[in-house]
Amino acid sequence: MKRTLSVLVENRPGVLTRVAGLFSRRGYNIDSLAVGRTENPSISRMTIVVDGDEQIIEQVCKQLNKLIDVIKLSDITDDPHVGRELMLIKVNADPAVRGEIMQIVDIFRARIVDIARNSLIIEATGDADKIDALENSLRPFGIREVVRTGKIAMLRGAKTKGMEASGDGTGD
């Protein structure tokens, strides 16, 4: 069972080590972990996707909450939220197949961001399913390199999982 945790932490050196170390030390599986600064420069948000049964997820949350640098933790899996991941993918693209690739890129509403003689770099955002589907569609052409960010997520509507509400939001 995959759960998406949205975790506000102090924006300080070493916090990522504490969080990541907690997972490895206690034998929990991180599916992905994305981290960046929030609207408040002293706070970072980690979006952690973790795989495990109910008991493991409960322990993950409790152990994370014990860290002094963790300000707030929310399991947003069951709340309506927008989840996105960014992928850069470098794919073989001889002139003969370039048109076909561009069609696929259009279908997925992705973008070509670099063209070389025999390859393209494609940028795509979306939920994990969409990114997986795009990657699978491009596989027959020969994938040279894939970079994915891991999931970031935000609750839909006016609700926030921040320290305080920060204005209205609208659905996507």
Binding site: V9, E10, G14, T17, R18, G21, R25, Q55, E58, Q59, K62, Q63, N65, K66, L67, I68, D69, V70, I71, K72, M163
Partner: protein
């Protein structure tokens, strides 16, 4: 305080916090990188205890903390000084002991360059501290040190490490010590949830065979009075964990004693037969539960702990209650009606009679018998520190603890070499009490250099050393699990411990026959200097009861 801003060095600012926290003494071992702190320490009235190895500075600080209920403090230098602390820090972490540790660090300009005596001690100690800091800016120092004391001693207590680069300690700092600590990510829950409290009261009221199970959390929160009141009000027997020894007086008729793999038979049977088990500040360690799937099979389990992460970690819990044990019991008491459980108490009495704590026959001097005599002669009022091994379990089972903070041992980590330095800390915390170290020849040799510290500080410690010239707890494991092939457990190069004590200027005594036990113990008690008693015992001694791997608590091996 409305303190005006004063310019002073970072090291001086650290001393200001130490004094504000009413720190009386610091255990430590100096070195180049921590000298700025030592320079300022000398200009305060805080006493410094120079140990013989850094690990023992943490052990002594934790012994001090456990005996006094205050926060222990220790200093060490960077690099090897800091890494020598690791076992001591992990020991304090496992038993939730409040200790603040200061380590010197190479100057910030050299951090990360593999400089002389540099280690990433904050990186190393993340898994074994409640929190730690690498201070990079001297202006943050007053806040950080104040936070360190606050974090170490509140909520679930634990060790906090502050790593202090030399240049930061020497740099001028003008920030005053803050009056309050504000940590947005740290808000321990003390009061129990009212609904859960009512639910617990109801469970207690409905139970026909309740058992209260008290752990280190009862001692840490000073809840022994409330515990006793509750147990007597609802006539519920009380078992304790190893860290919980002394939380409930063992001379009380409701006392079951320690539960677990080497627990008292009556306590183990009662846990297996009860219909309600209320864990109070315990963590259901694997040394307590035996085979987890067979643990307390008939019981609903209620679990009260200040650390939410402990609840549901090891055993299924029917009723969780987060809070400080003292606060919870205080609020719970008015909610429960007095009760009696005559049938259950009769059953407990039968268990106690049918399964007494025995130790069979054999050997010239029986260590269990010696510890029973010691318990009688000190009336259970001495502070006992132990090392780890067979002697630790005998000390837990046969002494008869009547007060909290009188049993001090490395319970969670099982650290050999803990007893003597912990006793030094305890003796400094409680000069009004006799402090006994119960140890074995294996453990003692891991920390015996601290005899020097104890003598230097004029501490009248009594050391009862059971010498079987072997690592007999390991031998016991080989006996039961490795076809009695005894490998690497025999010492042939032991020193003459009596002469060792004498060569430190202490008194050395020896027990070789049973009739010598009482007179020698009495002589040690009357001696006002450090006294070591070497008690020769058989290497074939066993710790009973013993629950083998995979067995339930009531499937104990008992002596024949």
């Amino acid at each position: 305080m409305g303190q005006e801003t004063r310019v002073r060095t970072g090291a001086r600012a650290v001393m200001e916090v130490l004094q504000a926290e009413e720190v009386e003494l610091v255990f430590g071992y100096p070195g180049g990188a921590v000298l700025p702190l030592y320079h300022e320490l000398a200009r305060t009235s805080i006493r410094h205890i120079l140990v013989r190895q850094e690990q023992n500075a943490v052990h002594a600080a934790s012994g001090y903390a456990r005996a006094s209920g205050k926060t222990g403090v220790c200093f060490a230098t960077s690099g090897p000084g800091a890494t020598n602390l690791v076992t001591g820090i992990a020991t304090a972490y496992m038993d939730s002991v409040p200790v603040v540790i200061f380590t010197g660090q190479v100057p910030t300009s050299q951090v990360g360059s593999d400089a002389f005596q540099e280690t990433d001690i904050t990186g190393i100690t993340i898994p074994i501290t409640k929190h730690n800091y690498l201070v990079k800016d001297g202006e943050e120092l007053p806040r950080i040190v104040k936070e360190a004391f606050y974090i170490a001693s509140t909520g679930r207590p634990g060790p906090v490490l502050v790593d202090l680069p030399k240049d930061v300690a020497l740099a001028l700092c003008q920030t005053p010590v803050p009056e309050k600590v504000e940590l947005r990510g740290y808000k321990p829950t003390y009061q129990g949830h009212p609904g859960q409290l009512r639910a617990l009261a109801k469970l207690l009221q409905e139970a026909e065979r309740p058992v209260l199970f008290a752990g280190g959390g009862v001692v840490a929160s000073g809840a022994e009075g409330y515990l006793r009141e509750l147990a007597e009000k609802i006539q519920a027997p009380v078992a304790t964990s190893l860290t919980g020894l002394g939380a409930f007086p063992e001379d009380n008729p409701l006392a079951l004693g320690m539960v677990g793999l080497h627990g008292k038979p009556c306590a183990n049977h009662a846990v297996m037969e009860c219909d309600l088990l209320v864990g109070l500040g315990v963590r259901f360690d694997d040394r307590v539960t035996g085979a987890i799937e067979k643990f307390a099979p008939q019981a609903k389990i209620a679990h009260v702990d200040i650390d939410p992460a402990e609840i549901g970690k090891n055993v299924r819990v029917d009723l969780p209650l987060v809070g400080d044990i003292s606060c919870v019991l205080k609020e719970l008491l008015p909610l429960v009606e007095p009760a009696t459980h005559p049938t259950w108490l009769e059953r407990v009495k039968t268990l106690r009679n049918n399964y007494p704590l025995t130790y069979g026959r054999g050997g010239e001097v029986r260590p269990q018998w010696v510890i029973e005599r010691l318990g009688e002669m000190t009336r259970g009022r001495a502070i006992i520190t132990t090392d780890v091994g067979q002697h630790q379990m005998w000390a837990a089972l046969f002494y008869g603890y009547t007060e909290p903070r009188t049993f001090i041992s490395s319970c969670g980590l099982g650290t050999m070499g803990y007893g003597l330095p912990a006793a030094i800390g305890a003796a400094l915390a409680r000069p009004d009490r006799q402090v006994w170290v119960i140890t074995g020849d294996g453990s003692f040799q891991m920390g015996m250099a601290e005899l020097g510290t104890a003598v230097e500080q004029g501490l009248p410690l009594k050391i009862l050393l059971f010498n079987n010239q072997s690592l007999a707890m390991v031998r016991q494991l080989q006996h039961f699990y490795y076809e009695r092939q005894y490998t690497a457990v025999k010492f042939t190069g032991n020193p003459d411990f009596v002469r060792l004590a004498e060569c430190y200027g202490a008194t050395g005594l020896r027990i070789t026959k049973q009739e010598e036990v009482v007179p020698v113990l009495a002589r040690a008690m009357q001696n006002d200097g450090l006294t070591l008693i070497e008690c020769l015992i058989s290497e074939e001694e066993m710790v009973y009861p013993m629950v083998l791997n995979g067995a339930a608590l009531n499937e104990m091996l008992l002596p024949e």
